[in-house]
Symmetry: C2
Subunit: 545 residues, 2 copies
């Protein structure tokens, strides 16, 4: 019979190896505390004793096929049990332990690395413990990060990707994935609004890297001599960005001009005057980073106004749409990125708003060929041009990396599974959740919104006001106390483990909660639950006078 | 009954959805050409019709658990069938098609992205086709890349990692993985030979990034003002490296002094004189990259001699042991890296010689705290310090990235499964294979070694000499012809698909084959097979006069 079809409640308590484990004295694990239900041994013949089996017995060992399959079957049971649990509201989001507790080998879960091999049973127990003490980022009540959710098709894509275990280095070793990357990039460029003749790009390990590419490209575009003569040959270059951006690279930090903001947005007039001031000081402005969806507020810079300024001064316009890019999939919301088609480069992370598993980030570049010109090192020992296929498909020379992880397949498979339409309704739903939260917050006297206006993205920022602070007049004393509220609530929330939300101070604003929605599993009932949870945890917290 | 225990030969030809697919006219796939064996429908009840099921029917859909499990069961069958096939010598390493052939939708395998969702049956077929037209990098006769092999425990680790789908940003969202990273880094530092008080590090997306970290760290160490005042505040800095290194970052390329080599190795006397020359010219040498295991020759720079020079001139010594680091696991071979303990930073990629799935690369830094000092941006909105746990475990401020993929779990699980001993015997075996190939090549008149001395690493470089060239005297004419041999053989080899090996020219040497061993599945019989294959493909090739 099929183990996978057993009731979930049985599977998640069953140990690999069933009863055998209980007799094996040297093993300890979390489950020893709660003895495994043994029903499974009577109903399922697949359970196998792995306590005398080691990795050397698996493939490529001769006749290792059956053992390998049985091992993976047990593993898959553990993983799918976790997946199912992740979506259940009755299960905890996390089971928090402090670092020293985990380091001490909680309930026999030893993290130390041995000299001698351990058996496969112990490994399976370790796998389950690893998941047990982790955080269910796919849980409908995990609101902590821009990347959340567990897209099961994306997950299937990741399993296949790791099974293929290849690299985006050349067409030779990744023919299918290289073509999928090309097709995905083309589609994303089309959605950004570039013409057929425009557009190039590459997937790279995260938004910071994508932004780094954009700076390198801009610099090379205006000053190709940087490649041969180096930085010292260049004038003092200046980049402009708004405050709430982690633009990578300490290489450039010092030439970064950080503009002030209004409700999280860049102020075009200030950009223009700063450009003029920089020129007057003998510096050379060359690059503007506009943000489409800031991390905390989810704000969108006014792209058309910024593009006008960039055009008139001849500057490279980069749009960091790592977080906001997903809204391009929605006919209802893409208006917020109006003007993005005028960008010279765009960062867009499908691992954020589109729900692809981490990591999945693209840098899109309008000018074709620039990526290769900028980054290629003509290392013939890596990229031979006398091969028998069209070596323009070898992407290694477009990147600053050598080996490159395959990040495209999961996104490709998700696109097949949902269609562009599926992404659209997913995005719309997340923004509906944000609006629902915003509406609720407006109505409640125990909460206060950071901004009174409707959120543009799925970020909603707010304070919980405990009873003792509700009648205090605004001022430093109230701020000092309010600053302590969110951390205290968060601490209690993590100990209880039923939801998770982030907080931070920003500018002149003391610690406030930021709720973000990118998980399609989240329903309005989860939003309501979150507010009740915060209110109930916060009602009795103690704030120092 | 358990589908996974069916004979492999049946599984790999069975279609998901069984006979149903044959009736579904809109689907086409590679398997339509070879009709599926239907035996499976009589013997296995698990096979399910997915042609009317869509991703919206999977979790988080209400009552989506069973469907999700069945879908993954089918997927796992496809993946495990591929895994088993990867290790079989009778199966092809690759089934080569040109880009235009794949783009045209080979046998119904369409890569285009739809607006409307496709059904799960089509997705499963697409998954199988993706694997079918890819390259089996785990095949015992895949010798093409430094990263090869399919470690099944590493694979299990990857499946779990993607199921957990979290990020190395903070302890808060990755408690277990953060601790595993700390323990792995500590172990690796101990193996490098640093004391208990020394050592820091981080896993990052590949060796190029790790090397980039080392340059940033060295610069910050000597010139901390770079962080506040920028590059222009610095003198003209010079980095030294030997020729065959792809040291990343076009930021630094222009200040790179490339030393000549002898049999792939840096010449210490030349390093010293170059440092002196640079100083004489008013430049400031600050960083030397020594390589432990070059990409093509597998050469090891003389680390102790280089460390002496770095010490006497006060330079940062970085050792790029991306490829050679694995030899530290072997008591027999670690002598080749003698002196590595004197490095200030080390790049070590377990995804190369240790067989971990891609990506798995570490930058190790001797001076504790430097990584954080160099890279932190004190972005309180990302990393709050008033959280209720020890926030020194939040690694986000040590990195130049924000989100960071979990690359540690697979390595941790492999270490548990093999023990340090297991890695040692794996490494030793790869070097035995290299020695076997070297011995064979010495004996054969139809091959010529690039170097007469025994390989230090598992790289073996050689030419095949076709009959027409064997009696030609050395010179430009023979070289011109010899240069064409390897590409022609490689092209035929890829078309046939039974093995895969890389070639390249280097310096004054015309195209030669480079065989590398990092796949524990490879046996001496595979080495012998490779030589016979090259000789048989090369015997009759046509070289232009």
């Amino acid at each position: 019979m099929d183990y996978l079809h057993l009731p979930e409640s049985i599977i998640e308590h069953a140990k690999p190896g069933g009863q055998v484990l209980a007799e094996s004295k040297q093993h300890r694990s979390s489950s020893d505390i709660n003895p495994p239900q043994t029903a499974i041994d009577n109903t399922c013949s697949i359970t196998k004793d792995f306590s005398c089996i080691y990795s050397k017995d698996l493939l490529p060992a001769l006749s290792g096929e059956d053992t390998t399959k049985s091992f993976f079957q047990e593993l898959v049971n553990i993983l799918l049990s976790y997946v199912c649990k992740s979506f259940r509201r009755s299960s905890k989001v996390l089971d928090f332990h402090h670092p020293h507790q985990l380091r001490e080998g909680l309930e026999g879960f030893s993290l130390e690395l041995p000299d001698q091999p351990e058996n496969l049973e112990q490994l399976l127990v370790d796998c389950r413990d690893t998941l047990k003490y982790g955080v269910k980022t796919g849980h409908p009540r995990f609101f902590n990060q821009l990347s959340s959710g567990l897209d099961v098709i994306g997950l299937a894509g990741e399993w296949l990707t790791s099974t293929a275990n290849t690299n985006m280095f050349t067409y030779e070793v990744s023919p299918v994935f290289i073509l999928m990357e090309e097709i995905l990039l083309k589609k994303m460029q089309e959605i950004v609004g570039w013409s057929e003749e425009e557009g190039d790009g590459v997937f790279c390990p995260g938004g910071t890297m994508s932004n780094l590419y954009s700076v390198l490209l801009a610099r090379y575009h205006f000053f190709p001599e940087v490649k041969t003569k180096g930085m010292t040959a260049l004038p003092r270059l200046i980049l402009f960005t708004s405050a709430h951006v982690r633009i990578t690279s300490i290489h450039v930090r010092s030439c970064l001009f950080i503009l002030s903001i209004n409700m999280g947005k860049m102020i075009p007039a200030e950009l223009e005057s700063s450009i003029i001031t920089a020129k007057d000081q003998g510096c050379v402005p060359f690059y503007v980073n506009a943000t489409a969806g800031t991390t905390v507020y989810g704000a969108f810079d006014p792209l058309n106004a910024i593009a006008d300024i960039c055009e008139s001064h001849g500057l490279w316009l980069h749009v960091d749409a790592a977080w906001g890019g997903g809204l391009l999939m929605s006919n209802l919301h893409r208006v917020k990125l109006q003007g993005i088609e005028r960008a010279w480069s765009v960062t867009w992370n499908p691992h954020k708003m589109m729900g692809a598993p981490l990591q999945c980030s693209a840098i899109l570049v309008k000018k074709r060929g620039l990526l290769k010109d900028c980054n290629q090192m003509c290392a013939e020992y890596l990229f031979q041009t006398d091969k028998h296929y069209d070596t323009s498909y070898d992407t290694g020379d477009k990147t600053i990396q050598c080996g490159r992880h395959v990040d495209v397949f999961k996104l490709w498979l998700m696109w097949k599974a949902k269609g562009s339409e599926g992404f659209e309704s997913q995005v719309n739903k997340c923004l509906e959740n944000a609006e629902h939260l915003f509406d609720k917050l407006k109505q409640r006297p125990d909460f206060e919104l950071v901004f009174k206006s409707k959120p543009e993205h799925s970020n909603v920022c707010f304070w919980y006001i405990p009873p003792g602070l509700r009648n205090m007049s605004p001022g430093p004393e109230r701020n000092r106390r309010l600053h302590e509220v969110a951390p205290k609530i968060k601490a209690k929330m993590m100990e209880q483990g039923m939801a998770m939300i982030g907080y931070q101070p920003l500018g002149d604003k003391v610690n406030f909660f930021r709720c973000v929605f990118s998980n399609p599993a989240t329903q309005t009932e989860d939003v309501d639950y979150l507010l009740e949870e915060i209110a109930s945890l916060g009602h009795d917290i103690c704030i120092r006078d």
